[in-house]
Amino acid sequence: MGRTIPSFRIAEAQEMAEWKAFRTALSKHDKAVFDDMLGIARLYLSASSEATRPSRFEGMGMAIIFHHYRMLARSLLRVSELRQEGVGK
């Protein structure tokens, strides 16, 4: 008995390990950016786990896209607020 499917935390670490070769080909600066990007997936582990997609990369990819969209939406809102306050006119 016991679990057959690893928890999303473990699955995600396995997926990250599989992208090691991609990471190796990046410059030192880009490696840090790449690590940051993959780290975003860890912020949405519960949601990725709830999604129960057969490919673990789907959950991770959606988490990264969602996080970037969220940041973009917040940035646009802030830009709009600053414009209303007259900043940059």
Partner: protein
């Protein structure tokens, strides 16, 4: 004769020895003529003729009986009940019968149920039960005047004695060949030191004192791993082993037949030493007794009574083993056999169903940082309550009798039996009810001597409840099935997600959630109105149907990042203080079992200083006082004022000592112990002090047992580690208060203002 059942174990073939603490204050040895039964089944009962004929000398009698063979059976089958001539041969007899046919042809039951537990189940009695015993023609007759479900019960007067030994070490570590220095006995307020004469005199002096005091409990530290094996070996060395008798049965104390066992549990290798039993007394090795360590004597008594396990067994057993005993009792009451080799497999699932089903409880990663005005809500015994209220058990999930049941597992839609209560819910009902009652009694007994009693009893029941869930999915559990485990997790996710939605509708934001606990605060940092959390709690209870407790509102609480990756949140690593001033600290160094004692003490001193603050800003203003604590402690390390025992790291060996090849401080300590002749096993715990972190080989660390006046710890390394420990709890309040900043302040001997 009236009294309390104290101990029982198989004597000679066909005998059960029972010790009774009489109402007359004396301890009585009784012998019952009784043998346990094993059960044998085959597809056709006639197929059993040959094995029964071959093994007939091992049985007192054999007869047909009607029993449920498998937990999922809805009708009883005809099986053979075979009463054993010698209970100690149950496994050999069973193995012999099983080998007479292909696997599964001869199915064996109740083979590994401990004999004394079978006796308790069959006679409906339990350890420390108040009862009346009479000698009948067929053996002892038991009249029970006690109730296992009682919250208040009278216990006999019982005495305890502590034994310790000082060894005249020739090397740095005590060895079995070293002589006995002194034997120290503590009984009530009396301390008896046996130091006169040669070793034989000392050993026989111990025997005399134990006989004179006649304790019920003998408490030792490392009695299983060192103390008693050492004394037995010394008695052998002097040719007096036949006189070395410490139990009430006056039997010769012997070394266990086999070494302990290393085993894997929840990602860790652990070691369990073989126990040394004192017949008619209870030997408690305080360092290897989970129940006594977690819940004291009252917890041990409650566990033994409830699970119907002799106290010696329950003092050493894992909680899972105790839970199994409770399940075996309930199985025996409903005529269900206990499989020797369980073969119940999980229900076949396709890929998509497996993906949806095979998940744990709900976890929501914490929002890292310092938060104010956070409230904590905890579901009370959530998993046991799910099993109880939703009737989750191996045989009830996807049962064949109720395909259109209205009791469905969320997300998965599996049916759950509506006709019959499952074995697991039947067994845990008493755990859930008694724990709830003891918690109430504990609260009402605050400030009285009963507080400790109720607290210890509820603590042991808490562990039983936790284990119930794990045992549903444990591969060695006799009545487990992963589908039942999956069903509990599915219910947990539904309940927690529903709770999140309700909280959001009340204007709360979820800060963290893990399985059965939630941390919430008002959106946009608004303050809660008085009673708002209680109102939320009532609505959650009403809508989910599960009891919830409001643990309090924190003045501030910190959710910490991962130590490896500061951008990543981790579960169960936080500390905070509520408005009553109560601290809650989880996962930080102060709570970890491997942290040196002094580091735990110092980190807690810092947390307490911060806890005096009512807000995040106020706590931030106290950071410089906390840095003062760090500087003071670093200086005492530098001056070598801290005792080695307070700097020792504790760790369990994750592998066999011969497999340690990389030069780490831990492997240095392992090799140092081995070179002193100590035999270690995977899973065993060791304590060591770092002596030269940057050195090579065994110089890097010294085992605490080998520490002597010439040993010296690596102060520089300890100061580095202290800086990390202090920074872990200070950085969230001031990001500039990093370990490197603390170290530079120590080097310059001054507090540098942190803007």
């Amino acid at each position: 004769m009236r009294g309390w059942l104290f101990d029982l174990y198989p004597g000679g073939p066909g005998e059960m020895v029972v010790w009774l603490k009489g109402e007359d204050g004396r301890t009585h040895r009784l012998v019952d003529h009784w043998s346990p039964s094993i059960f044998i089944a085959a597809d056709e009962i006639s197929e059993l003729a040959t094995p029964l004929r071959v093994a007939r000398s091992d049985f007192v009698l054999t007869r047909e009986a009607r029993r449920f063979e498998r937990i999922t059976d809805t009708a009883m089958s005809t099986v053979i009940e075979a009463k054993l001539r010698d209970a100690k041969r149950a496994t050999q007899v069973a193995a012999r019968i099983e080998a007479m046919g292909p696997f599964g042809a001869f199915r064996l039951y109740n083979v590994d149920v401990p004999t004394n537990q079978s006796y308790l189940y069959e006679h409906e009695i339990f350890p420390l039960a108040h009862c009346e015993v009479t000698q009948g023609d067929d053996g002892l007759q038991w009249g029970l005047s006690d109730d296992v479900a009682a919250y208040e019960y009278q216990l006999p007067h019982m005495s305890s004695l502590k034994v310790d030994v000082e060894v005249d070490k020739r090397g740095r570590i005590p060895q079995a060949t070293d002589s006995i220095g002194r034997i120290i006995i503590k009984h009530d307020d009396e301390e008896i030191v046996i130091a006169e004469g040669d070793e034989s005199d000392k050993l026989l002096g111990l025997v005399r004192e134990v006989r004179r005091i006649d304790p019920d409990f003998v408490l030792t530290k490392d009695g299983d791993t060192f103390l008693l094996p050492y004394l037995i070996r010394r008695a052998e060395a002097h040719g007096i082993s036949d006189q070395f008798r410490l139990d009430r049965d006056e039997s010769v104390l012997r070394l266990p037949a086999k070494d302990g066992t290393s085993y894997f549990s929840y990602g860790k290798i652990l070691y369990k030493p073989s126990s040394i039993k004192l017949y008619g007394r209870v030997h408690i090795d305080v360092n290897s007794s989970f129940a006594y360590g977690e819940a004291g004597f009252e917890g041990l008594f409650e566990l033994s009574r409830l699970c119907r396990m002799p106290m010696h067994t329950s003092s050493r057993a894992s909680i899972g083993k105790a839970l199994s005993s409770l399940q075996f009792y309930h199985a025996s009451k409903r005529g269900l056999l206990v499989p020797w080799k369980p073969t119940l497999s999980e229900v076949i699932k396709d890929r998509n169903e497996l993906l949806a089903a095979d998940r744990g409880g709900l976890v929501f990663e914490p929002i890292m940082g310092v938060h104010e005005g956070v409230g904590e809500l905890d579901f009370s015994s959530l998993y046991p309550n799910i099993m109880l209220r939703k009737n989750i058990s191996a045989e009830t999930v996807k049962c064949g009798c109720c395909p259109s049941s209205s009791n469905r597992v969320p997300e998965l839609g599996w049916n759950v039996c509506e006709r019959q209560t499952g074995l697991v819910p039947s067994a845990i009902e008493i755990i859930v009810n008694k724990r709830l009652k003891y918690k109430e009694l504990k609260l009402s007994a605050k400030g009285t001597s009963n507080y400790k009693k109720y607290n210890e009893r509820q603590a042991v029941l808490k562990w039983l409840g936790v284990t119930t869930f794990g045992y549903l999915g444990f591969n060695n559990a006799k009545f487990g099935r992963i589908d039942a485990h999956i069903a509990v997790c599915a219910w947990d996710r539904k309940i927690l997600l529903d709770t999140m939605r309700i909280a959001e509708a009340h204007g709360f934001r979820l800060i963290h959630c893990i399985v059965d606990s939630l941390w919430l605060k008002k959106e946009d940092g608004k303050l809660t109105e008085p009673g708002e959390y209680l109102k939320l709690r009532s609505e959650i209870e009403e809508r989910t149907g599960f009891p919830l407790s409001f643990e309090g509102e924190y003045k501030w609480i910190v959710f910490l990042p991962s130590r490896e990756n500061p951008a990543t949140p981790v579960l169960n690593r936080y500390f905070g203080v509520d408005w009553s001033g109560e601290l809650k600290v989880r996962g930080v160094e102060a709570r970890r079992h491997d942290t040196p004692l002094s580091f735990k003490k110092w980190q807690m001193e810092i947390i307490r200083l911060l806890a005096e603050a009512d807000s995040r800003d106020e706590a931030r203003s106290r950071v410089s006082d906390c840095i003062g604590v760090f500087l003071r402690c670093a200086e005492s390390l530098e001056r070598h004022e801290v005792p080695a025992a307070e700097l020792a790291f504790t760790t369990n060996l994750s592998k066999d000592p011969s497999e340690y090849h990389v030069n780490t401080v831990q492997s240095a300590a392992v090799h140092a112990l081995e070179s002193e002749g100590v035999r270690l096993h995977a899973g065993e715990g060791i304590h060591y002090v770092i002596t030269d972190y940057k050195g090579r080989g065994s110089k890097r660390a010294t085992p605490l047992d080998a520490w002597n006046a010439s040993s010296s710890y690596d102060a520089r390394r300890y100061i580095e580690l202290l800086a990390r420990t202090c920074a872990a709890v200070l950085e969230p309040f001031n990001p500039k208060c990093s370990a490197s900043h603390l170290l530079s302040m120590h080097m310059s001997r001054k507090i540098v203002p942190l803007s």
